[in-house]
């Protein structure tokens, strides 16, 4: 979880949350994830943390895993952060809503302006929100509704916020991501391609589009931690 500063991928802090053991149980599978190897997940999580800290030089904040929140490590769903503003989301799954509490606290401590979703009708999963550096796209998916997208627009008023219909079980960012300042990386599935086409129509800014064979591969973060630093991809 990066905190993008100006433009795309500028960040100083990374926030992660440990993998609870409950992730391996049924809850995870329910979220569309394949049954996973807990040990591997925890190992990978450790590697991620290390990379963020050492390779990228980010200040790493790690929230402790909570057994009651099996999907807690998927922090991307809990907040949308741009500039000094953090929008605390209201995940579609009621079970996940408590996840935001710890995140809110952490972000508050970082001095970000916290914006809450007060609307009971709004649902918003953070991974349905794609920030390209110039504008937002919000996937209208199984997880995020129009009202939720509207709140994104209300929160980040400087930017155009466009809605992209997302078919299937994925989040928008499960289909595509930013591979660079003006490059959208997308999977090759129908849903992903459709989303990318929709975005191409909606944008005022031309993006190059890079198609990857695998949707999951498109779920990446483009980070530019240092000033002239090498921009690495983070595949999650």
């Amino acid at each position: 979880m990066g905190t993008p500063g100006e433009g795309l991928g500028r960040c100083s802090h990374a926030l992660i949350r440990g993998v609870p053991e409950s992730l391996a149980s049924g809850e995870g599978a329910g979220a569309g994830l394949p049954a996973l190897d807990l040990a591997k997940a925890q190992r990978e999580h450790g590697v991620l943390g290390g990379k963020l800290r050492q390779r990228l030089g980010l200040q790493l904040l790690e929230l402790p895993p909570e057994e009651s929140l099996p999907l807690g490590p998927l922090l991307g769903d809990t907040a949308v952060i741009q500039g000094d503003t953090a929008l605390i989301t209201r995940p579609w799954s009621p079970a996940r809503r408590p996840e935001v509490d710890g995140v809110r606290k952490a972000l508050q401590d970082l001095g970000l302006r916290i914006v809450e979703i007060g609307d009971e009708n709004a649902t918003l999963d953070g991974t349905d929100v794609l920030f390209t550096g110039r504008e937002f796209f919000v996937g209208l998916s199984k997880w995020t509704n129009h009202r939720g997208a509207e709140i994104v627009a209300d929160t980040f008023r400087d930017f155009a916020v466009s809605t992209v219909p997302v078919s299937g079980p994925s989040h928008l960012r499960g289909l595509c991501g930013m591979g660079g300042p003006r490059t959208v990386v997308a999977g090759s599935s129908d849903a992903a391609q459709k989303a990318v086409r929709a975005m191409a129509v909606l944008t005022d800014h031309p993006y190059a589009s890079l198609t990857l064979p695998d949707d999951a591969a498109a779920d990446c973060l483009f980070l530019r931690p240092g000033l002239p630093g090498v921009p690495p991809f983070l595949l999650h």
Binding site: T85, E150, R157, D158, R182, L202, P206
Partner: protein, 1036 residues
């Protein structure tokens, strides 16, 4: 066999007056205009014979009458003041382009149209006259040249004025119609001479009578952006333009095309005042209250030339922000607010500003203490920024806001869901709540129309779709639909086109709005801005406290607190922008005069990239490869039709060029030439391959295809003129013809374009109107209107994107290229014409009166010409060719002669050598071998003093006329050099034939004609370019 004979004639005029006259005339005319307006139209109408005492207002009234009922007879009118731009006026007027030409056109129109029960024949005749328009133009221009003492502005009145005094008014009209036509047909110079004399007399007479007229005036009040009110008296029938000009003058604003006047039609509806129409008719019974506002938000404010323009834009944006129209985040509110403080208060001073109550300012719709604190905090960080710099920073941040420049209209979609339609520079945006749910870029939109309260856009089929789709929106009411439609038409024209489209011709039973945007386009206004040559005007920034209060409606005194005088007044200071701010070259000469080069950018880019570019396109482009960077520079400096003079917005289509008044422009021009012409020229040769790739790639997408489609579609939609030609000329000629019409003629010649566009529109609107049988034909009330962006894309936009156009044309039919560019040298047209040969003859006629010819120009021109042929075989260089030849035509002469270093020449020369090759190997163009020969005859006198002296371009126009096998393009350029004015006529005659034509004879004929037409000029250069197809006949 195709023969092209081009004669370039150059005329040098002794009379330096010609130039100065023309310029002086203009202000004078304005003044006169106003005088005229103040005279009482009613009185005039009643009184019978003082024909000379015609006032503009009565003309307007007449026109209105005609439009409304077409029943009232109208008394005579003499428009002796109707001076400028005769030929253009005629064209427009005859095409019924009433809205287009606010003043002059009207008059002309009446001559021909007013006659209500005009018999069919006459209508016919009128049509003929229309066709004659081109020729007539030519003739007139010639006259001009022969009579340097008479400024061209006086011409228009000539024919009409002449008869007025002698005949009875009522009968006169018919006569007049005929006479006018006759005149046109004859075009004898001698005759005109005598008339001119009369004109002048009449004018004098008129002037004396004018004084005695009473005036009916109305007081108007205009709320300005700083909250103050400007009031003035206007003649009752004054047009919007008059008021707008007054306001701009009051504001000392030159870059005024971005602005407009709004009037409140109803509490929630505001309308733009149409400058071309009478204010009274637009307002109906509303009070004469207006607000001065930004109408077109410049996508890149840093390209504005003057700080004062940026200042007004800032004021507008502050209003937009405070009112919530332009939503921003907290941070942005704070940042923008802090720049506002810096601009208005100067550096933060704890003693002085610590006590200021920031709540008096309005930084946001709802302002919190927190925001004020943040504003104050940020203000401290801007220390050292001048007010102008602070404004620039303000704009740099504001322009990135997603709603910047988006004009929102409430609507419902087809399912009745509330949405908002946002019109902006790039197209049409669809919002639901705050979310953007769809977007239609201009290139995607084929047609915009409205019918009653519905608004429709016809959209180009998407990638995988096959059919165009029409999307309808429901507006609250009919007027809202029309307003949206108009805004779309205006935005499209302003941001996407090079020059405004002519309004469709008023036909007998036309229904629907003929509205077209009549102001300058962004491209034009940017061109014009580069010529602003005045010390930065001194202006006071008034505190936005006042602005915020004025939003509450409280009247405020003008001299209210401006806590700081921000301007030391030194011009130099202003140009001291922060380095990152202004990406354009700022050159300051010894006098401290400032020249800012603001190249026109957007349209080119869009086409090159084949994608939309955003407001901050520059940012993006920075990251692009140096190739495209260079290319962009290259493209963007493509000269375009420029308005003749800063003040004169209506003239633009005719006059290709502008004048630079001072030598200062050299600075700028040297820069631009060096950077933008020279470099790419050389460089392109080396990097051909890459270049092509780049250029080609986008070709297949976006606007390119758009244009191509449009080209095709205009083939499909038949129209009379084209039809005729098709009958006579071969299949491929069609393309050429069209090109000629659309392109070569386009600057001045309305007729070509209009004829072409109009029938299409006509057809559609009638079909529409048949559905809505009840729709009224009165223009204000019309229920339907439509607008096809893409006709213009083919015809207008093309002019700037030479390269792009070429390629578009090239693909379907290579032959089209032959005549495509103004300066393009014909090439073999290999497609279907067997044994075609092309000969270009350029005759340069020159009357050398004490001034030296500009050698640089010549050689460049020549070089370009040859280069064209030489490089023809490979396509990459053609882009270069196109541009370079443009240098010759469109760029001010002095640029070429002074700032083109020898390098360029040699480059040209090299290429011209290459052009001696007799065979052109075509890469993509199929098969047919051609032979190209170029012979240049040049008078020795030309090579005289090198570029010490630089001319100033006065006018330039291009006229094209066609007959069965010949196409004549006449390019007339007037320049003033030192005290000497020079008229240069270039004629390009393309003779296309299949072997029966004796080319030598044709050449001789062409030269002879040129001599005859301009006895007082000398032929300085003849270039014969002959292309013969070898494949079949192998002759030549």
């Amino acid at each position: 066999m195709t023969t092209e004979v081009g004669s370039v004639s150059e005329v040098k005029k002794d009379s330096s007056q010609l130039g100065t006259d023309a310029t002086k005339e203009k202000p004078k005319e304005v003044a006169e205009n106003q005088q005229n307006q103040s005279s009482d139209p009613e009185e005039e109408k009643g009184s019978q014979p003082p024909p000379a005492a015609e006032s503009q207002s009565s003309l307007r009234r007449q026109k209105r009458e005609k439009e409304t009922s077409e029943s009232r007879g109208i008394s005579r009118f003499i428009p002796p003041w109707l001076k400028k731009q005769k030929s253009y006026t005629l064209v427009v007027a005859k095409d019924g382009g009433d809205k287009k030409e606010p003043t002059q056109a009207v008059v002309e129109e009446q001559v021909l149209d007013k006659e209500e029960p005009l018999p069919e024949e006459q209508r016919q005749a009128k049509g003929d006259a229309e066709e004659m328009a081109q020729k007539k133009q030519e003739i007139k221009v010639e006259v001009k040249e022969e009579k340097p003492s008479v400024s061209k502005e006086e011409k228009p009145s000539v024919s009409k004025v002449e008869m007025q005094p002698t005949e009875l008014v009522s009968k006169e009209r018919e006569e007049k119609v005929k006479e006018t036509q006759e005149d046109k047909l004859e075009g004898g110079a001698a005759k005109r001479e005598t008339k001119e004399v009369q004109t002048n007399e009449l004018k004098a007479e008129k002037a004396s009578q004018k004084v005695t007229k009473k005036t009916k005036t109305v007081q108007c009040k205009v709320t300005l952006l700083d909250g103050t009110e400007y009031s003035c008296d206007l003649e009752k029938h004054a047009k919007g333009q008059v008021l707008f000009d007054k306001v701009c003058e009051h504001l000392n604003l030159l870059e005024k095309d971005y602005f407009g006047l709004l009037f409140q039609e109803s509490p929630e509806q505001k309308n733009w005042l149409d400058p071309a129409k009478e204010i009274k008719r637009q307002l109906r019974n509303l009070p004469w209250l207006f607000t001065f506002n930004v109408k077109f938000y410049p996508p890149d404010p840093s390209q504005l030339t003057e700080d004062i323009t940026r200042y007004f834009l800032c004021l507008q944006l502050r209003q937009d922000i405070a009112s919530g129209r332009l939503p921003c985040s907290f941070v942005t509110h704070a940042l923008l607010g802090s720049y506002t403080l810096q601009a208005e208060l100067g550096d933060y001073d704890p003693e002085e500003h610590g006590s200021i109550d920031l709540s008096e300012f309005q930084f946001a719709p709802t302002q919190t203490k927190e925001l004020e604190e943040k504003v104050a905090e940020l203000h401290k960080t801007h220390r050292g920024l001048s007010p102008a710099q602070a404004d620039s920073q303000f704009l740099e941040n504001a322009k990135r806001l997603s709603m910047y420049g988006v004009d929102l209209h409430h609507a419902k979609d087809s399912e009745g869901v509330d949405i908002k339609l946002g019109v902006c520079a790039n197209g049409l945006l669809i919002y639901k709540d705050r979310l953007r749910i769809n977007r239609f870029a201009w290139p995607k939109i084929l047609k915009i129309s409205y019918k009653r309260s519905n608004f429709y856009i016809k959209v180009r089929p998407a990638e995988l779709e096959q059919f165009e789709s029409t999307i309808g929106f429901k507006l609250p009411n009919h007027r809202a639909a029309k307003r949206l439609w108009k805004v779309c038409v205006e935005h499209h024209t302003f941001y996407r086109l090079v020059s405004p489209e002519q309004p469709p011709k008023a036909k007998f039973l036309t229904l629907g709005s003929k509205f077209r945007y009549s102001g300058r386009t962004q491209a034009q206004t940017r061109q014009a801005s580069t010529l602003i040559d005045r010390p930065a005007p001194h202006f006071e920034r008034t505190s936005s406290k006042r602005v915020s209060r004025s939003l509450d409606g409280a009247p405020i005194g003008v001299m209210d607190q401006s806590l700081m005088k921000d301007f030391p007044g030194a011009a130099g200071e202003i140009s001291a922008y922060g380095p990152g701010l202004v990406s354009i070259a700022v050159v300051q000469d010894g006098d401290g005069r400032r020249e800012v080069r603001s190249p026109t950018k957007a349209p080119h880019l869009q086409l090159i990239e084949g994608k939309e570019l955003d407001k901050a396109q520059e940012d993006i482009l920075k990251h692009q490869a140096s190739i495209s960077e260079l290319k962009r520079n290259f493209m963007e400096s493509t000269p375009e039709p420029r308005p003749n003079e800063w003040e004169k917005r209506r003239i633009t289509p005719l006059s290709l060029q502008t004048q630079g008044r001072k030598g200062d422009h050299l600075f700028k021009d040297i820069l631009s030439v060096k950077e933008k012409y020279l470099m790419p020229t050389i460089w392109t040769v080396e990097e051909k391959a890459q270049e092509t790739d780049k250029t080609r790639a986008p070709e297949s997408e976006g606007p390119c295809t758009g244009a191509r489609d449009a080209v095709k579609s205009s083939h499909e939609t038949l129209n009379i003129v084209e039809e005729k030609k098709r009958a006579e000329v071969g299949k491929d000629e069609r393309v050429i013809t069209e090109e000629m019409n659309g392109k070569e003629i386009s600057p001045g010649s309305g007729p070509g374009e209009i004829r072409k566009v109009e029938p299409v529109t006509q057809k559609d609107s009638t079909s529409l109107s048949s559905e809505s049988s009840s729709s009224s034909s009165e223009s204000e009330e019309e229920d339907v209107g439509e607008y096809r962006p893409h006709h213009r894309v083919t015809e207008g936009t093309i002019r700037e994107e030479q390269e792009y156009e070429e390629e578009v044309e090239e693909e379907p039919r290579p032959a089209a290229k032959v005549v495509e560019r103004e300066e393009a040298v014909p090439e073999a047209s290999p497609v279907t014409q067997a044994g075609a040969s092309v000969i270009t003859v350029e005759t340069v006629i020159q009357e050398n009166v004490g001034a030296q010819k500009i050698p640089g120009e010549k050689s460049v021109h020549e070089g370009a010409l040859k280069q064209d042929m030489g490089e023809e075989a490979e396509e990459e260089p053609q882009k270069v060719n196109g541009e370079v030849s443009h240098v010759d035509i469109d760029v001010l002469p002095q640029i070429i002669c002074c700032s083109e270093p020898p390098v360029v020449k040699t480059e040209m020369v090299t290429i011209s050598d290459a052009s001696q090759r007799t065979e052109i190997s075509t890469k993509e163009v199929p098969i047919v071998q051609t032979e190209t020969k170029t012979i240049t005859y040049e008078s020795p006198q030309i090579d005289g003093g090198a570029g010490g002296d630089s001319g100033t371009l006065l006018t330039a126009q291009t006229i094209t006329s066609e007959s069965v096998s010949t196409t004549t393009t006449t390019h007339i350029t007037k320049t003033v050099k030192g005290g000497i004015s020079e008229t240069r006529i270039e004629k390009r005659i393309v003779i296309t034939g299949d072997g029966d034509i004796d080319h030598d004879q044709a050449l001789a004929q062409a030269i002879r004609e040129a001599r005859e037409q301009h006895p007082d000029m000398s032929v300085t250069r003849v270039v014969v370019h002959k292309e013969t197809e070898l494949a079949e006949e192998g002759e030549d």
